[in-house]
Subunit: 338 residues, 2 copies
DNA sequence: CCGTTAAGAGTTAACGCTAACATAACGCTA
DNA sequence: TAGCGTTATGTTAGCGTTAACTCTTAACGG
């Protein structure tokens, strides 16, 4: 194994100088650094992270924990978060990807091997884990879900605003009678999306007939089921646009419409939330709200790194990022309705 | 920070004895070990991996590299592989999940920080990376794709066999005129699936009319396009079953049939490959071939660990696992055809 | 031209752990 | 009960790096 000693000998300098050449902030003459770096490259020296970490007390590992990896909203949820996280992370950091559910020994896994932790949280059930990490005193950032704790750095998307924007768009298209298929009751995301819907209804004096709001569980089949119920309404009471709490639900709703012979968007408009892979592939392609998940990830890593370095962050631990409305084909202007 | 020294002092033993208590294979009296472990737990001692690794030359990190994380065949491709990998990995190992494309410095990232590497390969384009790792001399296992190199441990699924099984099933259902939508030309997977198809045709003396085999590119739209072509054939020449090189293609094909008013499976049967999430959700639900990806992962990790420990593996580096035929609704017995 | 300062480089010790060797304790046989 | 092999534990050194400190040299003002 080629060590810092070998480089030092060849370069005719001390070990420390070599060490300095590899550590950005150190004072060392540019020329010396360059010579050392050249020699190191030539003989294939790379610093040993175990030795380095032993003295600096660092692990150069950031852990990223998912609520439940299989349930990511979109097909690329997991992968695009991971890729984005790497981009925001310095080259010398490793990203350890984990499923919260499968963490057995938080002491052995987290405390001892990671400099900090990002939790990509999908539900309240993650709080246990989050507070265990917090208790460890490890740098921690929770993203993807609003966390009501001023002591924990939290980056979330403004779901309420996203739904409101989507509904406002529908109103601009002339829709007045509206409906919704909700997410799993109790989930913060469900609550916020419902609130966004309600606020839009209030602000625009929209009509919500009984039966126009159904409870779903974020699954395709629940969307299908819910839409069947909505379609039971007589046509003149039926909403002209249905906002679905996520894309899977919306695709289920689309399917129910197709089965019932109700054309989308000609006879009824449908909106989703998430912008999953199949949102663009569905027929008609889904108009939906895209969470700023990549921006959340980038910001999350940035903040985590600052926390790791002991820097202070902005006073308010809640960072809320704006979602984006993705307009496709599943909403039609009301004047154009058949 | 609480170190091995603190435990030693409290337990009235030497540091080495404490070290032994934490290392399974060491000789130490059970009673002593238990006392030490108890004390360690009480004062919250956990071994420092940097220190441990410095002397043992280990990193306790396994890297898993994906061709291109966003393109996983099924929605759960990435997540289920990661979860499965963790299950096969000892608790004290970390899993570093990476995208091959985004590896900048293989020396800094891989050589220096990982004990071994699993490559979940999807295409020939990964070979560059694979051979770079091999050149590093690091323990390496390639899974998910057949790799024609006797020097590299390789775990793959038998795609050819999978397609053949699927076709045999179709033949048993009475199908004689068959067609196929192929994958991206040049990909090993495309070639093998085509060969499986061809072998089934030969073995069962099936009829393949001109135009019944189309080239796709594994995308939904290519499947749609290809099926449109196939449906141009006069009904009596048209295949009664079309095997699609993957599920996305098959779903595209389904869509084309729907658009053309051709009912599946009543008028034409369709099969896919992958068993992706939407295979079960499509209408009709897709009969498809499921790759043994989880078994590949488990075996891959097991073999990698042996390689890391310096154990020898079975002589033949090619391990081929059997796929599974998932029978759903998209294939109908020919006697039942309308 | 001396004294002060700062930049650049060197010396030394320590980080927490385990391997290798050394020693002690134990249990058995003759 | 001496002698031996075996099992259990202790002692010592070193893994590769950086932090803290020291030393050298050049620059500069008065």
């Amino acid at each position: 194994m080629v060590t810092i000693k070998d480089v030092a000998k060849l370069a005719g300098v001390s070990m420390t100088t070599v060490s300095r050449a590899f550590n950005e902030k150190a004072v060392i003459k540019d020329k010396t650094r360059q010579q050392i770096l050249d020699i190191a490259k030539r003989i294939g020296y790379v610093p040993d992270y175990n030795a380095r970490g032993l003295v600096t007390k660092k692990k150069f590992v950031v852990g990223i924990f998912f609520s439940s990896m299989g349930d990511g909203t979109s097909r690329s949820f997991l992968s695009s978060i991971i890729s984005t996280a790497y981009e925001a992370l310095p080259d010398n950091y490793l990203l350890s990807v984990n499923d919260i559910r499968s963490v057995k020994d938080i002491n052995g896994l987290v405390r001892n091997r990671m400099d900090g932790v990002i939790v990509v949280s999908q539900s309240d059930r993650d709080n246990d884990f989050i507070y265990q990490v917090k208790a460890l005193g490890l740098p921690l950032v929770v993203i993807n879900r609003f966390l009501n704790d001023p002591d924990i750095r939290n980056i979330s998307g403004d779901d309420l605003r996203g739904v409101k924007d989507a509904m406002t768009y529908a109103v601009k298209q002339g829709h007045q009678r509206v409906g919704m298929i909700e997410g799993i009751p109790g989930f913060t995301s469900s609550t916020q999306r419902r609130q966004g819907f309600d606020q839009a209804v209030l602000a625009n004096q929209l009509i919500v007939n009984p039966g126009a709001i159904q409870i779903g569980d974020y699954s395709l089949t629940s969307g299908q089921q819910a839409m069947i119920e909505i379609l039971r309404l007589p046509k003149e009471q039926r909403p002209t646009v249905v906002f679905c709490a996520n894309d899977d639900t919306a695709i289920g709703a689309l399917r129910a419409c197709y089965a019932a012979g109700v054309r989308v968007p000609n006879e009824i408009s449908v909106m989703g939330f998430d912008d999953s892979y199949y949102a663009s592939m569905s027929v008609p392609a889904l108009t939906t709200v895209r969470k700023p998940i990549l921006a959340m990830t980038t910001r999350g890593i940035e903040d985590l790194l600052k926390l790791i370095d002991g820097d202070t962050l902005s006073a308010d631990n809640h960072v809320i990022l704006e979602p984006e409305l993705i307009i496709r084909e599943s909403v039609q202007a009301i004047s154009a309705l058949d």
